[in-house]
């Protein structure tokens, strides 16, 4: 407990030091004119651009973003699960020899931001959405691998323990006891990462993978506020859709 308090104090210290060293300008933020300025900026977004031709373009870009993020996430799930398994200490007596190296690999995969993965993939896969998909896949694999591994370590041990004492192979213990327990959490992490990837596909504009991201950067940079609003609406709708999906899936699993 005392070690925990030391840690808490350290965290508090870090927070205080951060705020102190940054010299943030709250005073400006709280004035009335500030609110007005923000309000004016937000007001510029209206009305959104709803010309059919532009809507078509946004629709296409939405599909491309959806495809890129979904496929990237799928790749990440496959890779992440494969890596999470050796990276988790599944029970108290688990020797888990690969744990440390695999964790380092996962750390590395996610230390490299999507953008850098994108530039790397771009070199090897050429310009286009495929590079973006791979980039999302690699980075997200590192993230999901770690989150999955921790979820597995956190799951109540009872069911797995019961099968293990029966001499069931680890991979099957995983299927029959761990999966049903961790499925909702893993699914929610996956869907949530998918959501994240929809946003991250925004940076993929640089690699010439179009999608909403590139359109957003383009129109936002040119202050086409109406168009930007339409694109933002499409992004909110996409994320909302995935959120809904995630909710339904969880409901179906946990009810």
């Amino acid at each position: 407990m005392s070690r925990l308090s030391v840690f808490m104090v350290a965290v508090l210290g870090l927070i205080v030091a951060s705020f102190a060293s940054l010299d943030l300008q709250w005073s400006q933020f709280l004035s009335l004119s500030a609110m007005q300025a923000m309000g004016r900026f937000v007001a510029e977004f209206f009305p959104p651009d709803t010309q059919p031709a532009f809507l078509m373009k946004v629709g296409l870009a939405t599909l491309e973003t959806l495809a890129m993020s979904a496929l990237g996430t799928l790749l990440a799930v496959v890779l992440g699960l494969t890596l999470a398994w050796p990276a988790a200490r599944r029970h108290a007596g688990d020797w888990a020899p690969l744990r440390t190296p695999v964790r380092w690999l996962l750390n590395f995969l996610r230390s490299v931001p999507e953008l850098v993965w994108a530039s790397l993939m771009l070199i090897s896969a050429g310009m286009g959405p495929f590079a973006g998909t791979l980039a999302l896949g690699f980075h997200t694999a590192g993230v999901l691998g770690r989150l999955f591994a921790e979820t597995m370590e956190n799951a109540p041990a009872g069911p797995a323990e019961a099968l293990r004492t029966q001499g069931v192979r680890p991979s099957l213990v995983f299927l029959y006891a761990t999966v049903p327990q961790v499925l909702p959490q893993c699914l929610s992490y996956t869907l949530y990462r998918w959501e994240n990837n929809i946003r991250a596909a925004a940076v993929m504009g640089v690699v010439g993978a179009g999608g909403l991201g590139q359109m957003l950067a383009f129109h936002m940079g040119l202050f086409h506020m109406g168009k930007t609003a339409t694109i933002l609406a499409a992004m909110v709708a996409l994320v909302g859709l995935v959120d809904l999906l995630s909710n339904l899936a969880r409901r179906a699993l946990t009810r």
Partner: protein, 282 residues
């Protein structure tokens, strides 16, 4: 059908799994959905084995060695690292302050009215409203938020920190809620049923089970904030992300490697902290 009839039909040799058809259907549906995604993303993995692209990749990777280690660069990197860490910490702290109340409002297990199976109308509306707010907060990219704030607070870290706070508030709010809901909810329900309040149920039933998960997710998010400091550069707040971005654009391999090493070190540090916290809280 009487119970014994049912038993009769069940004990017949041709026992059928009622869920099987549905599962096959869902699997097929997934495959059908996958196809257009493969087309749209121009999924052609064999391109990767093309000799020319191998050569280019190898070239770039070779150019990253040796990492750039001259003193001024390292010194600047150290300064940028602290700035990044400070901004990430400040952003996460504000985001956390935003997320916690929203989580409390939107978590279903903590809903008193949901105890009876269905949530009451008002509570349901409020919950949907908060969830919608969380969706908007996290689906609008940091850049857009940053531009909103630049108008008010000018160039510098404030706009970036606020942008991070809003997006990450949206993310934390959602994920906290899902973590709380996906564990064993019995203890919390039991407390609520006996008349405890929401906060009491959170403290006495949900936190002991989920503290480790919540903490490690928060640490992970901090790590993400460090990485996403590239957006901070947009509004003139500097940061490691921006350095990496420009080094990458310039194909300055040595710089890229050094900065990546810093990232790996920060991430490993966060990982250690998270692992340690999990052990301590478990």
């Amino acid at each position: 059908m009487s119970l014994s009839d049912q038993a009769q039909s069940l004990s017949q040799p041709a026992l059928k799994d009622p869920a099987w058809l549905g599962r096959v259907g869902v699997a097929l549906f997934m495959v059908v959905l996958l196809w257009p995604a493969l087309v749209l993303t121009e999924f052609r993995p064999w391109q990767l084995w093309d000799a020319r692209s191998w050569a280019v990749t190898a070239n770039f990777l070779a150019s990253t060695w040796p990492p750039r280690l001259d003193a001024p660069f390292l010194w600047e990197l150290a300064r940028e690292t602290w700035r990044t860490v400070a901004m990430a910490t400040a952003g996460i702290t504000l985001g956390w302050l935003l997320a916690v109340p929203l989580t409390l409002v939107s978590t279903r297990v903590l809903s008193v009215s949901a105890l009876s199976g269905r949530m009451a109308g008002g509570a349901w509306l409020l919950r949907q409203g908060v969830r919608g707010l969380l969706v908007v907060l996290r689906s609008v990219p940091e850049l857009v938020w940053a531009l909103v704030f630049v108008r008010v607070v000018g160039l510098g870290p404030t706009a970036g920190v606020l942008a991070i706070a809003l997006t990450y508030g949206g993310m934390l709010g959602k994920v906290y809620g899902e973590i709380l809901e996906s564990g064993d909810t019995q203890p919390a329900e039991s407390l609520l049923r006996n008349g405890s309040s929401r906060l009491q149920a959170l403290l006495y039933a949900l936190l002991p089970q989920n503290a480790a998960e919540l903490v490690s997710y928060t640490v992970y998010r901090w790590e993400c904030a460090v990485r996403s400091s590239v957006v901070l550069g947009f509004v003139g707040a500097g940061g490691l992300g921006q350095q990496l971005d420009s080094a990458m654009k310039m194909f300055a391999g040595g710089d890229v490697l050094t900065i990546l090493l810093v990232f790996v070190a920060l991430v490993a540090l966060a990982d250690r902290a998270s692992a340690w916290l999990r052990e301590t809280l478990a």
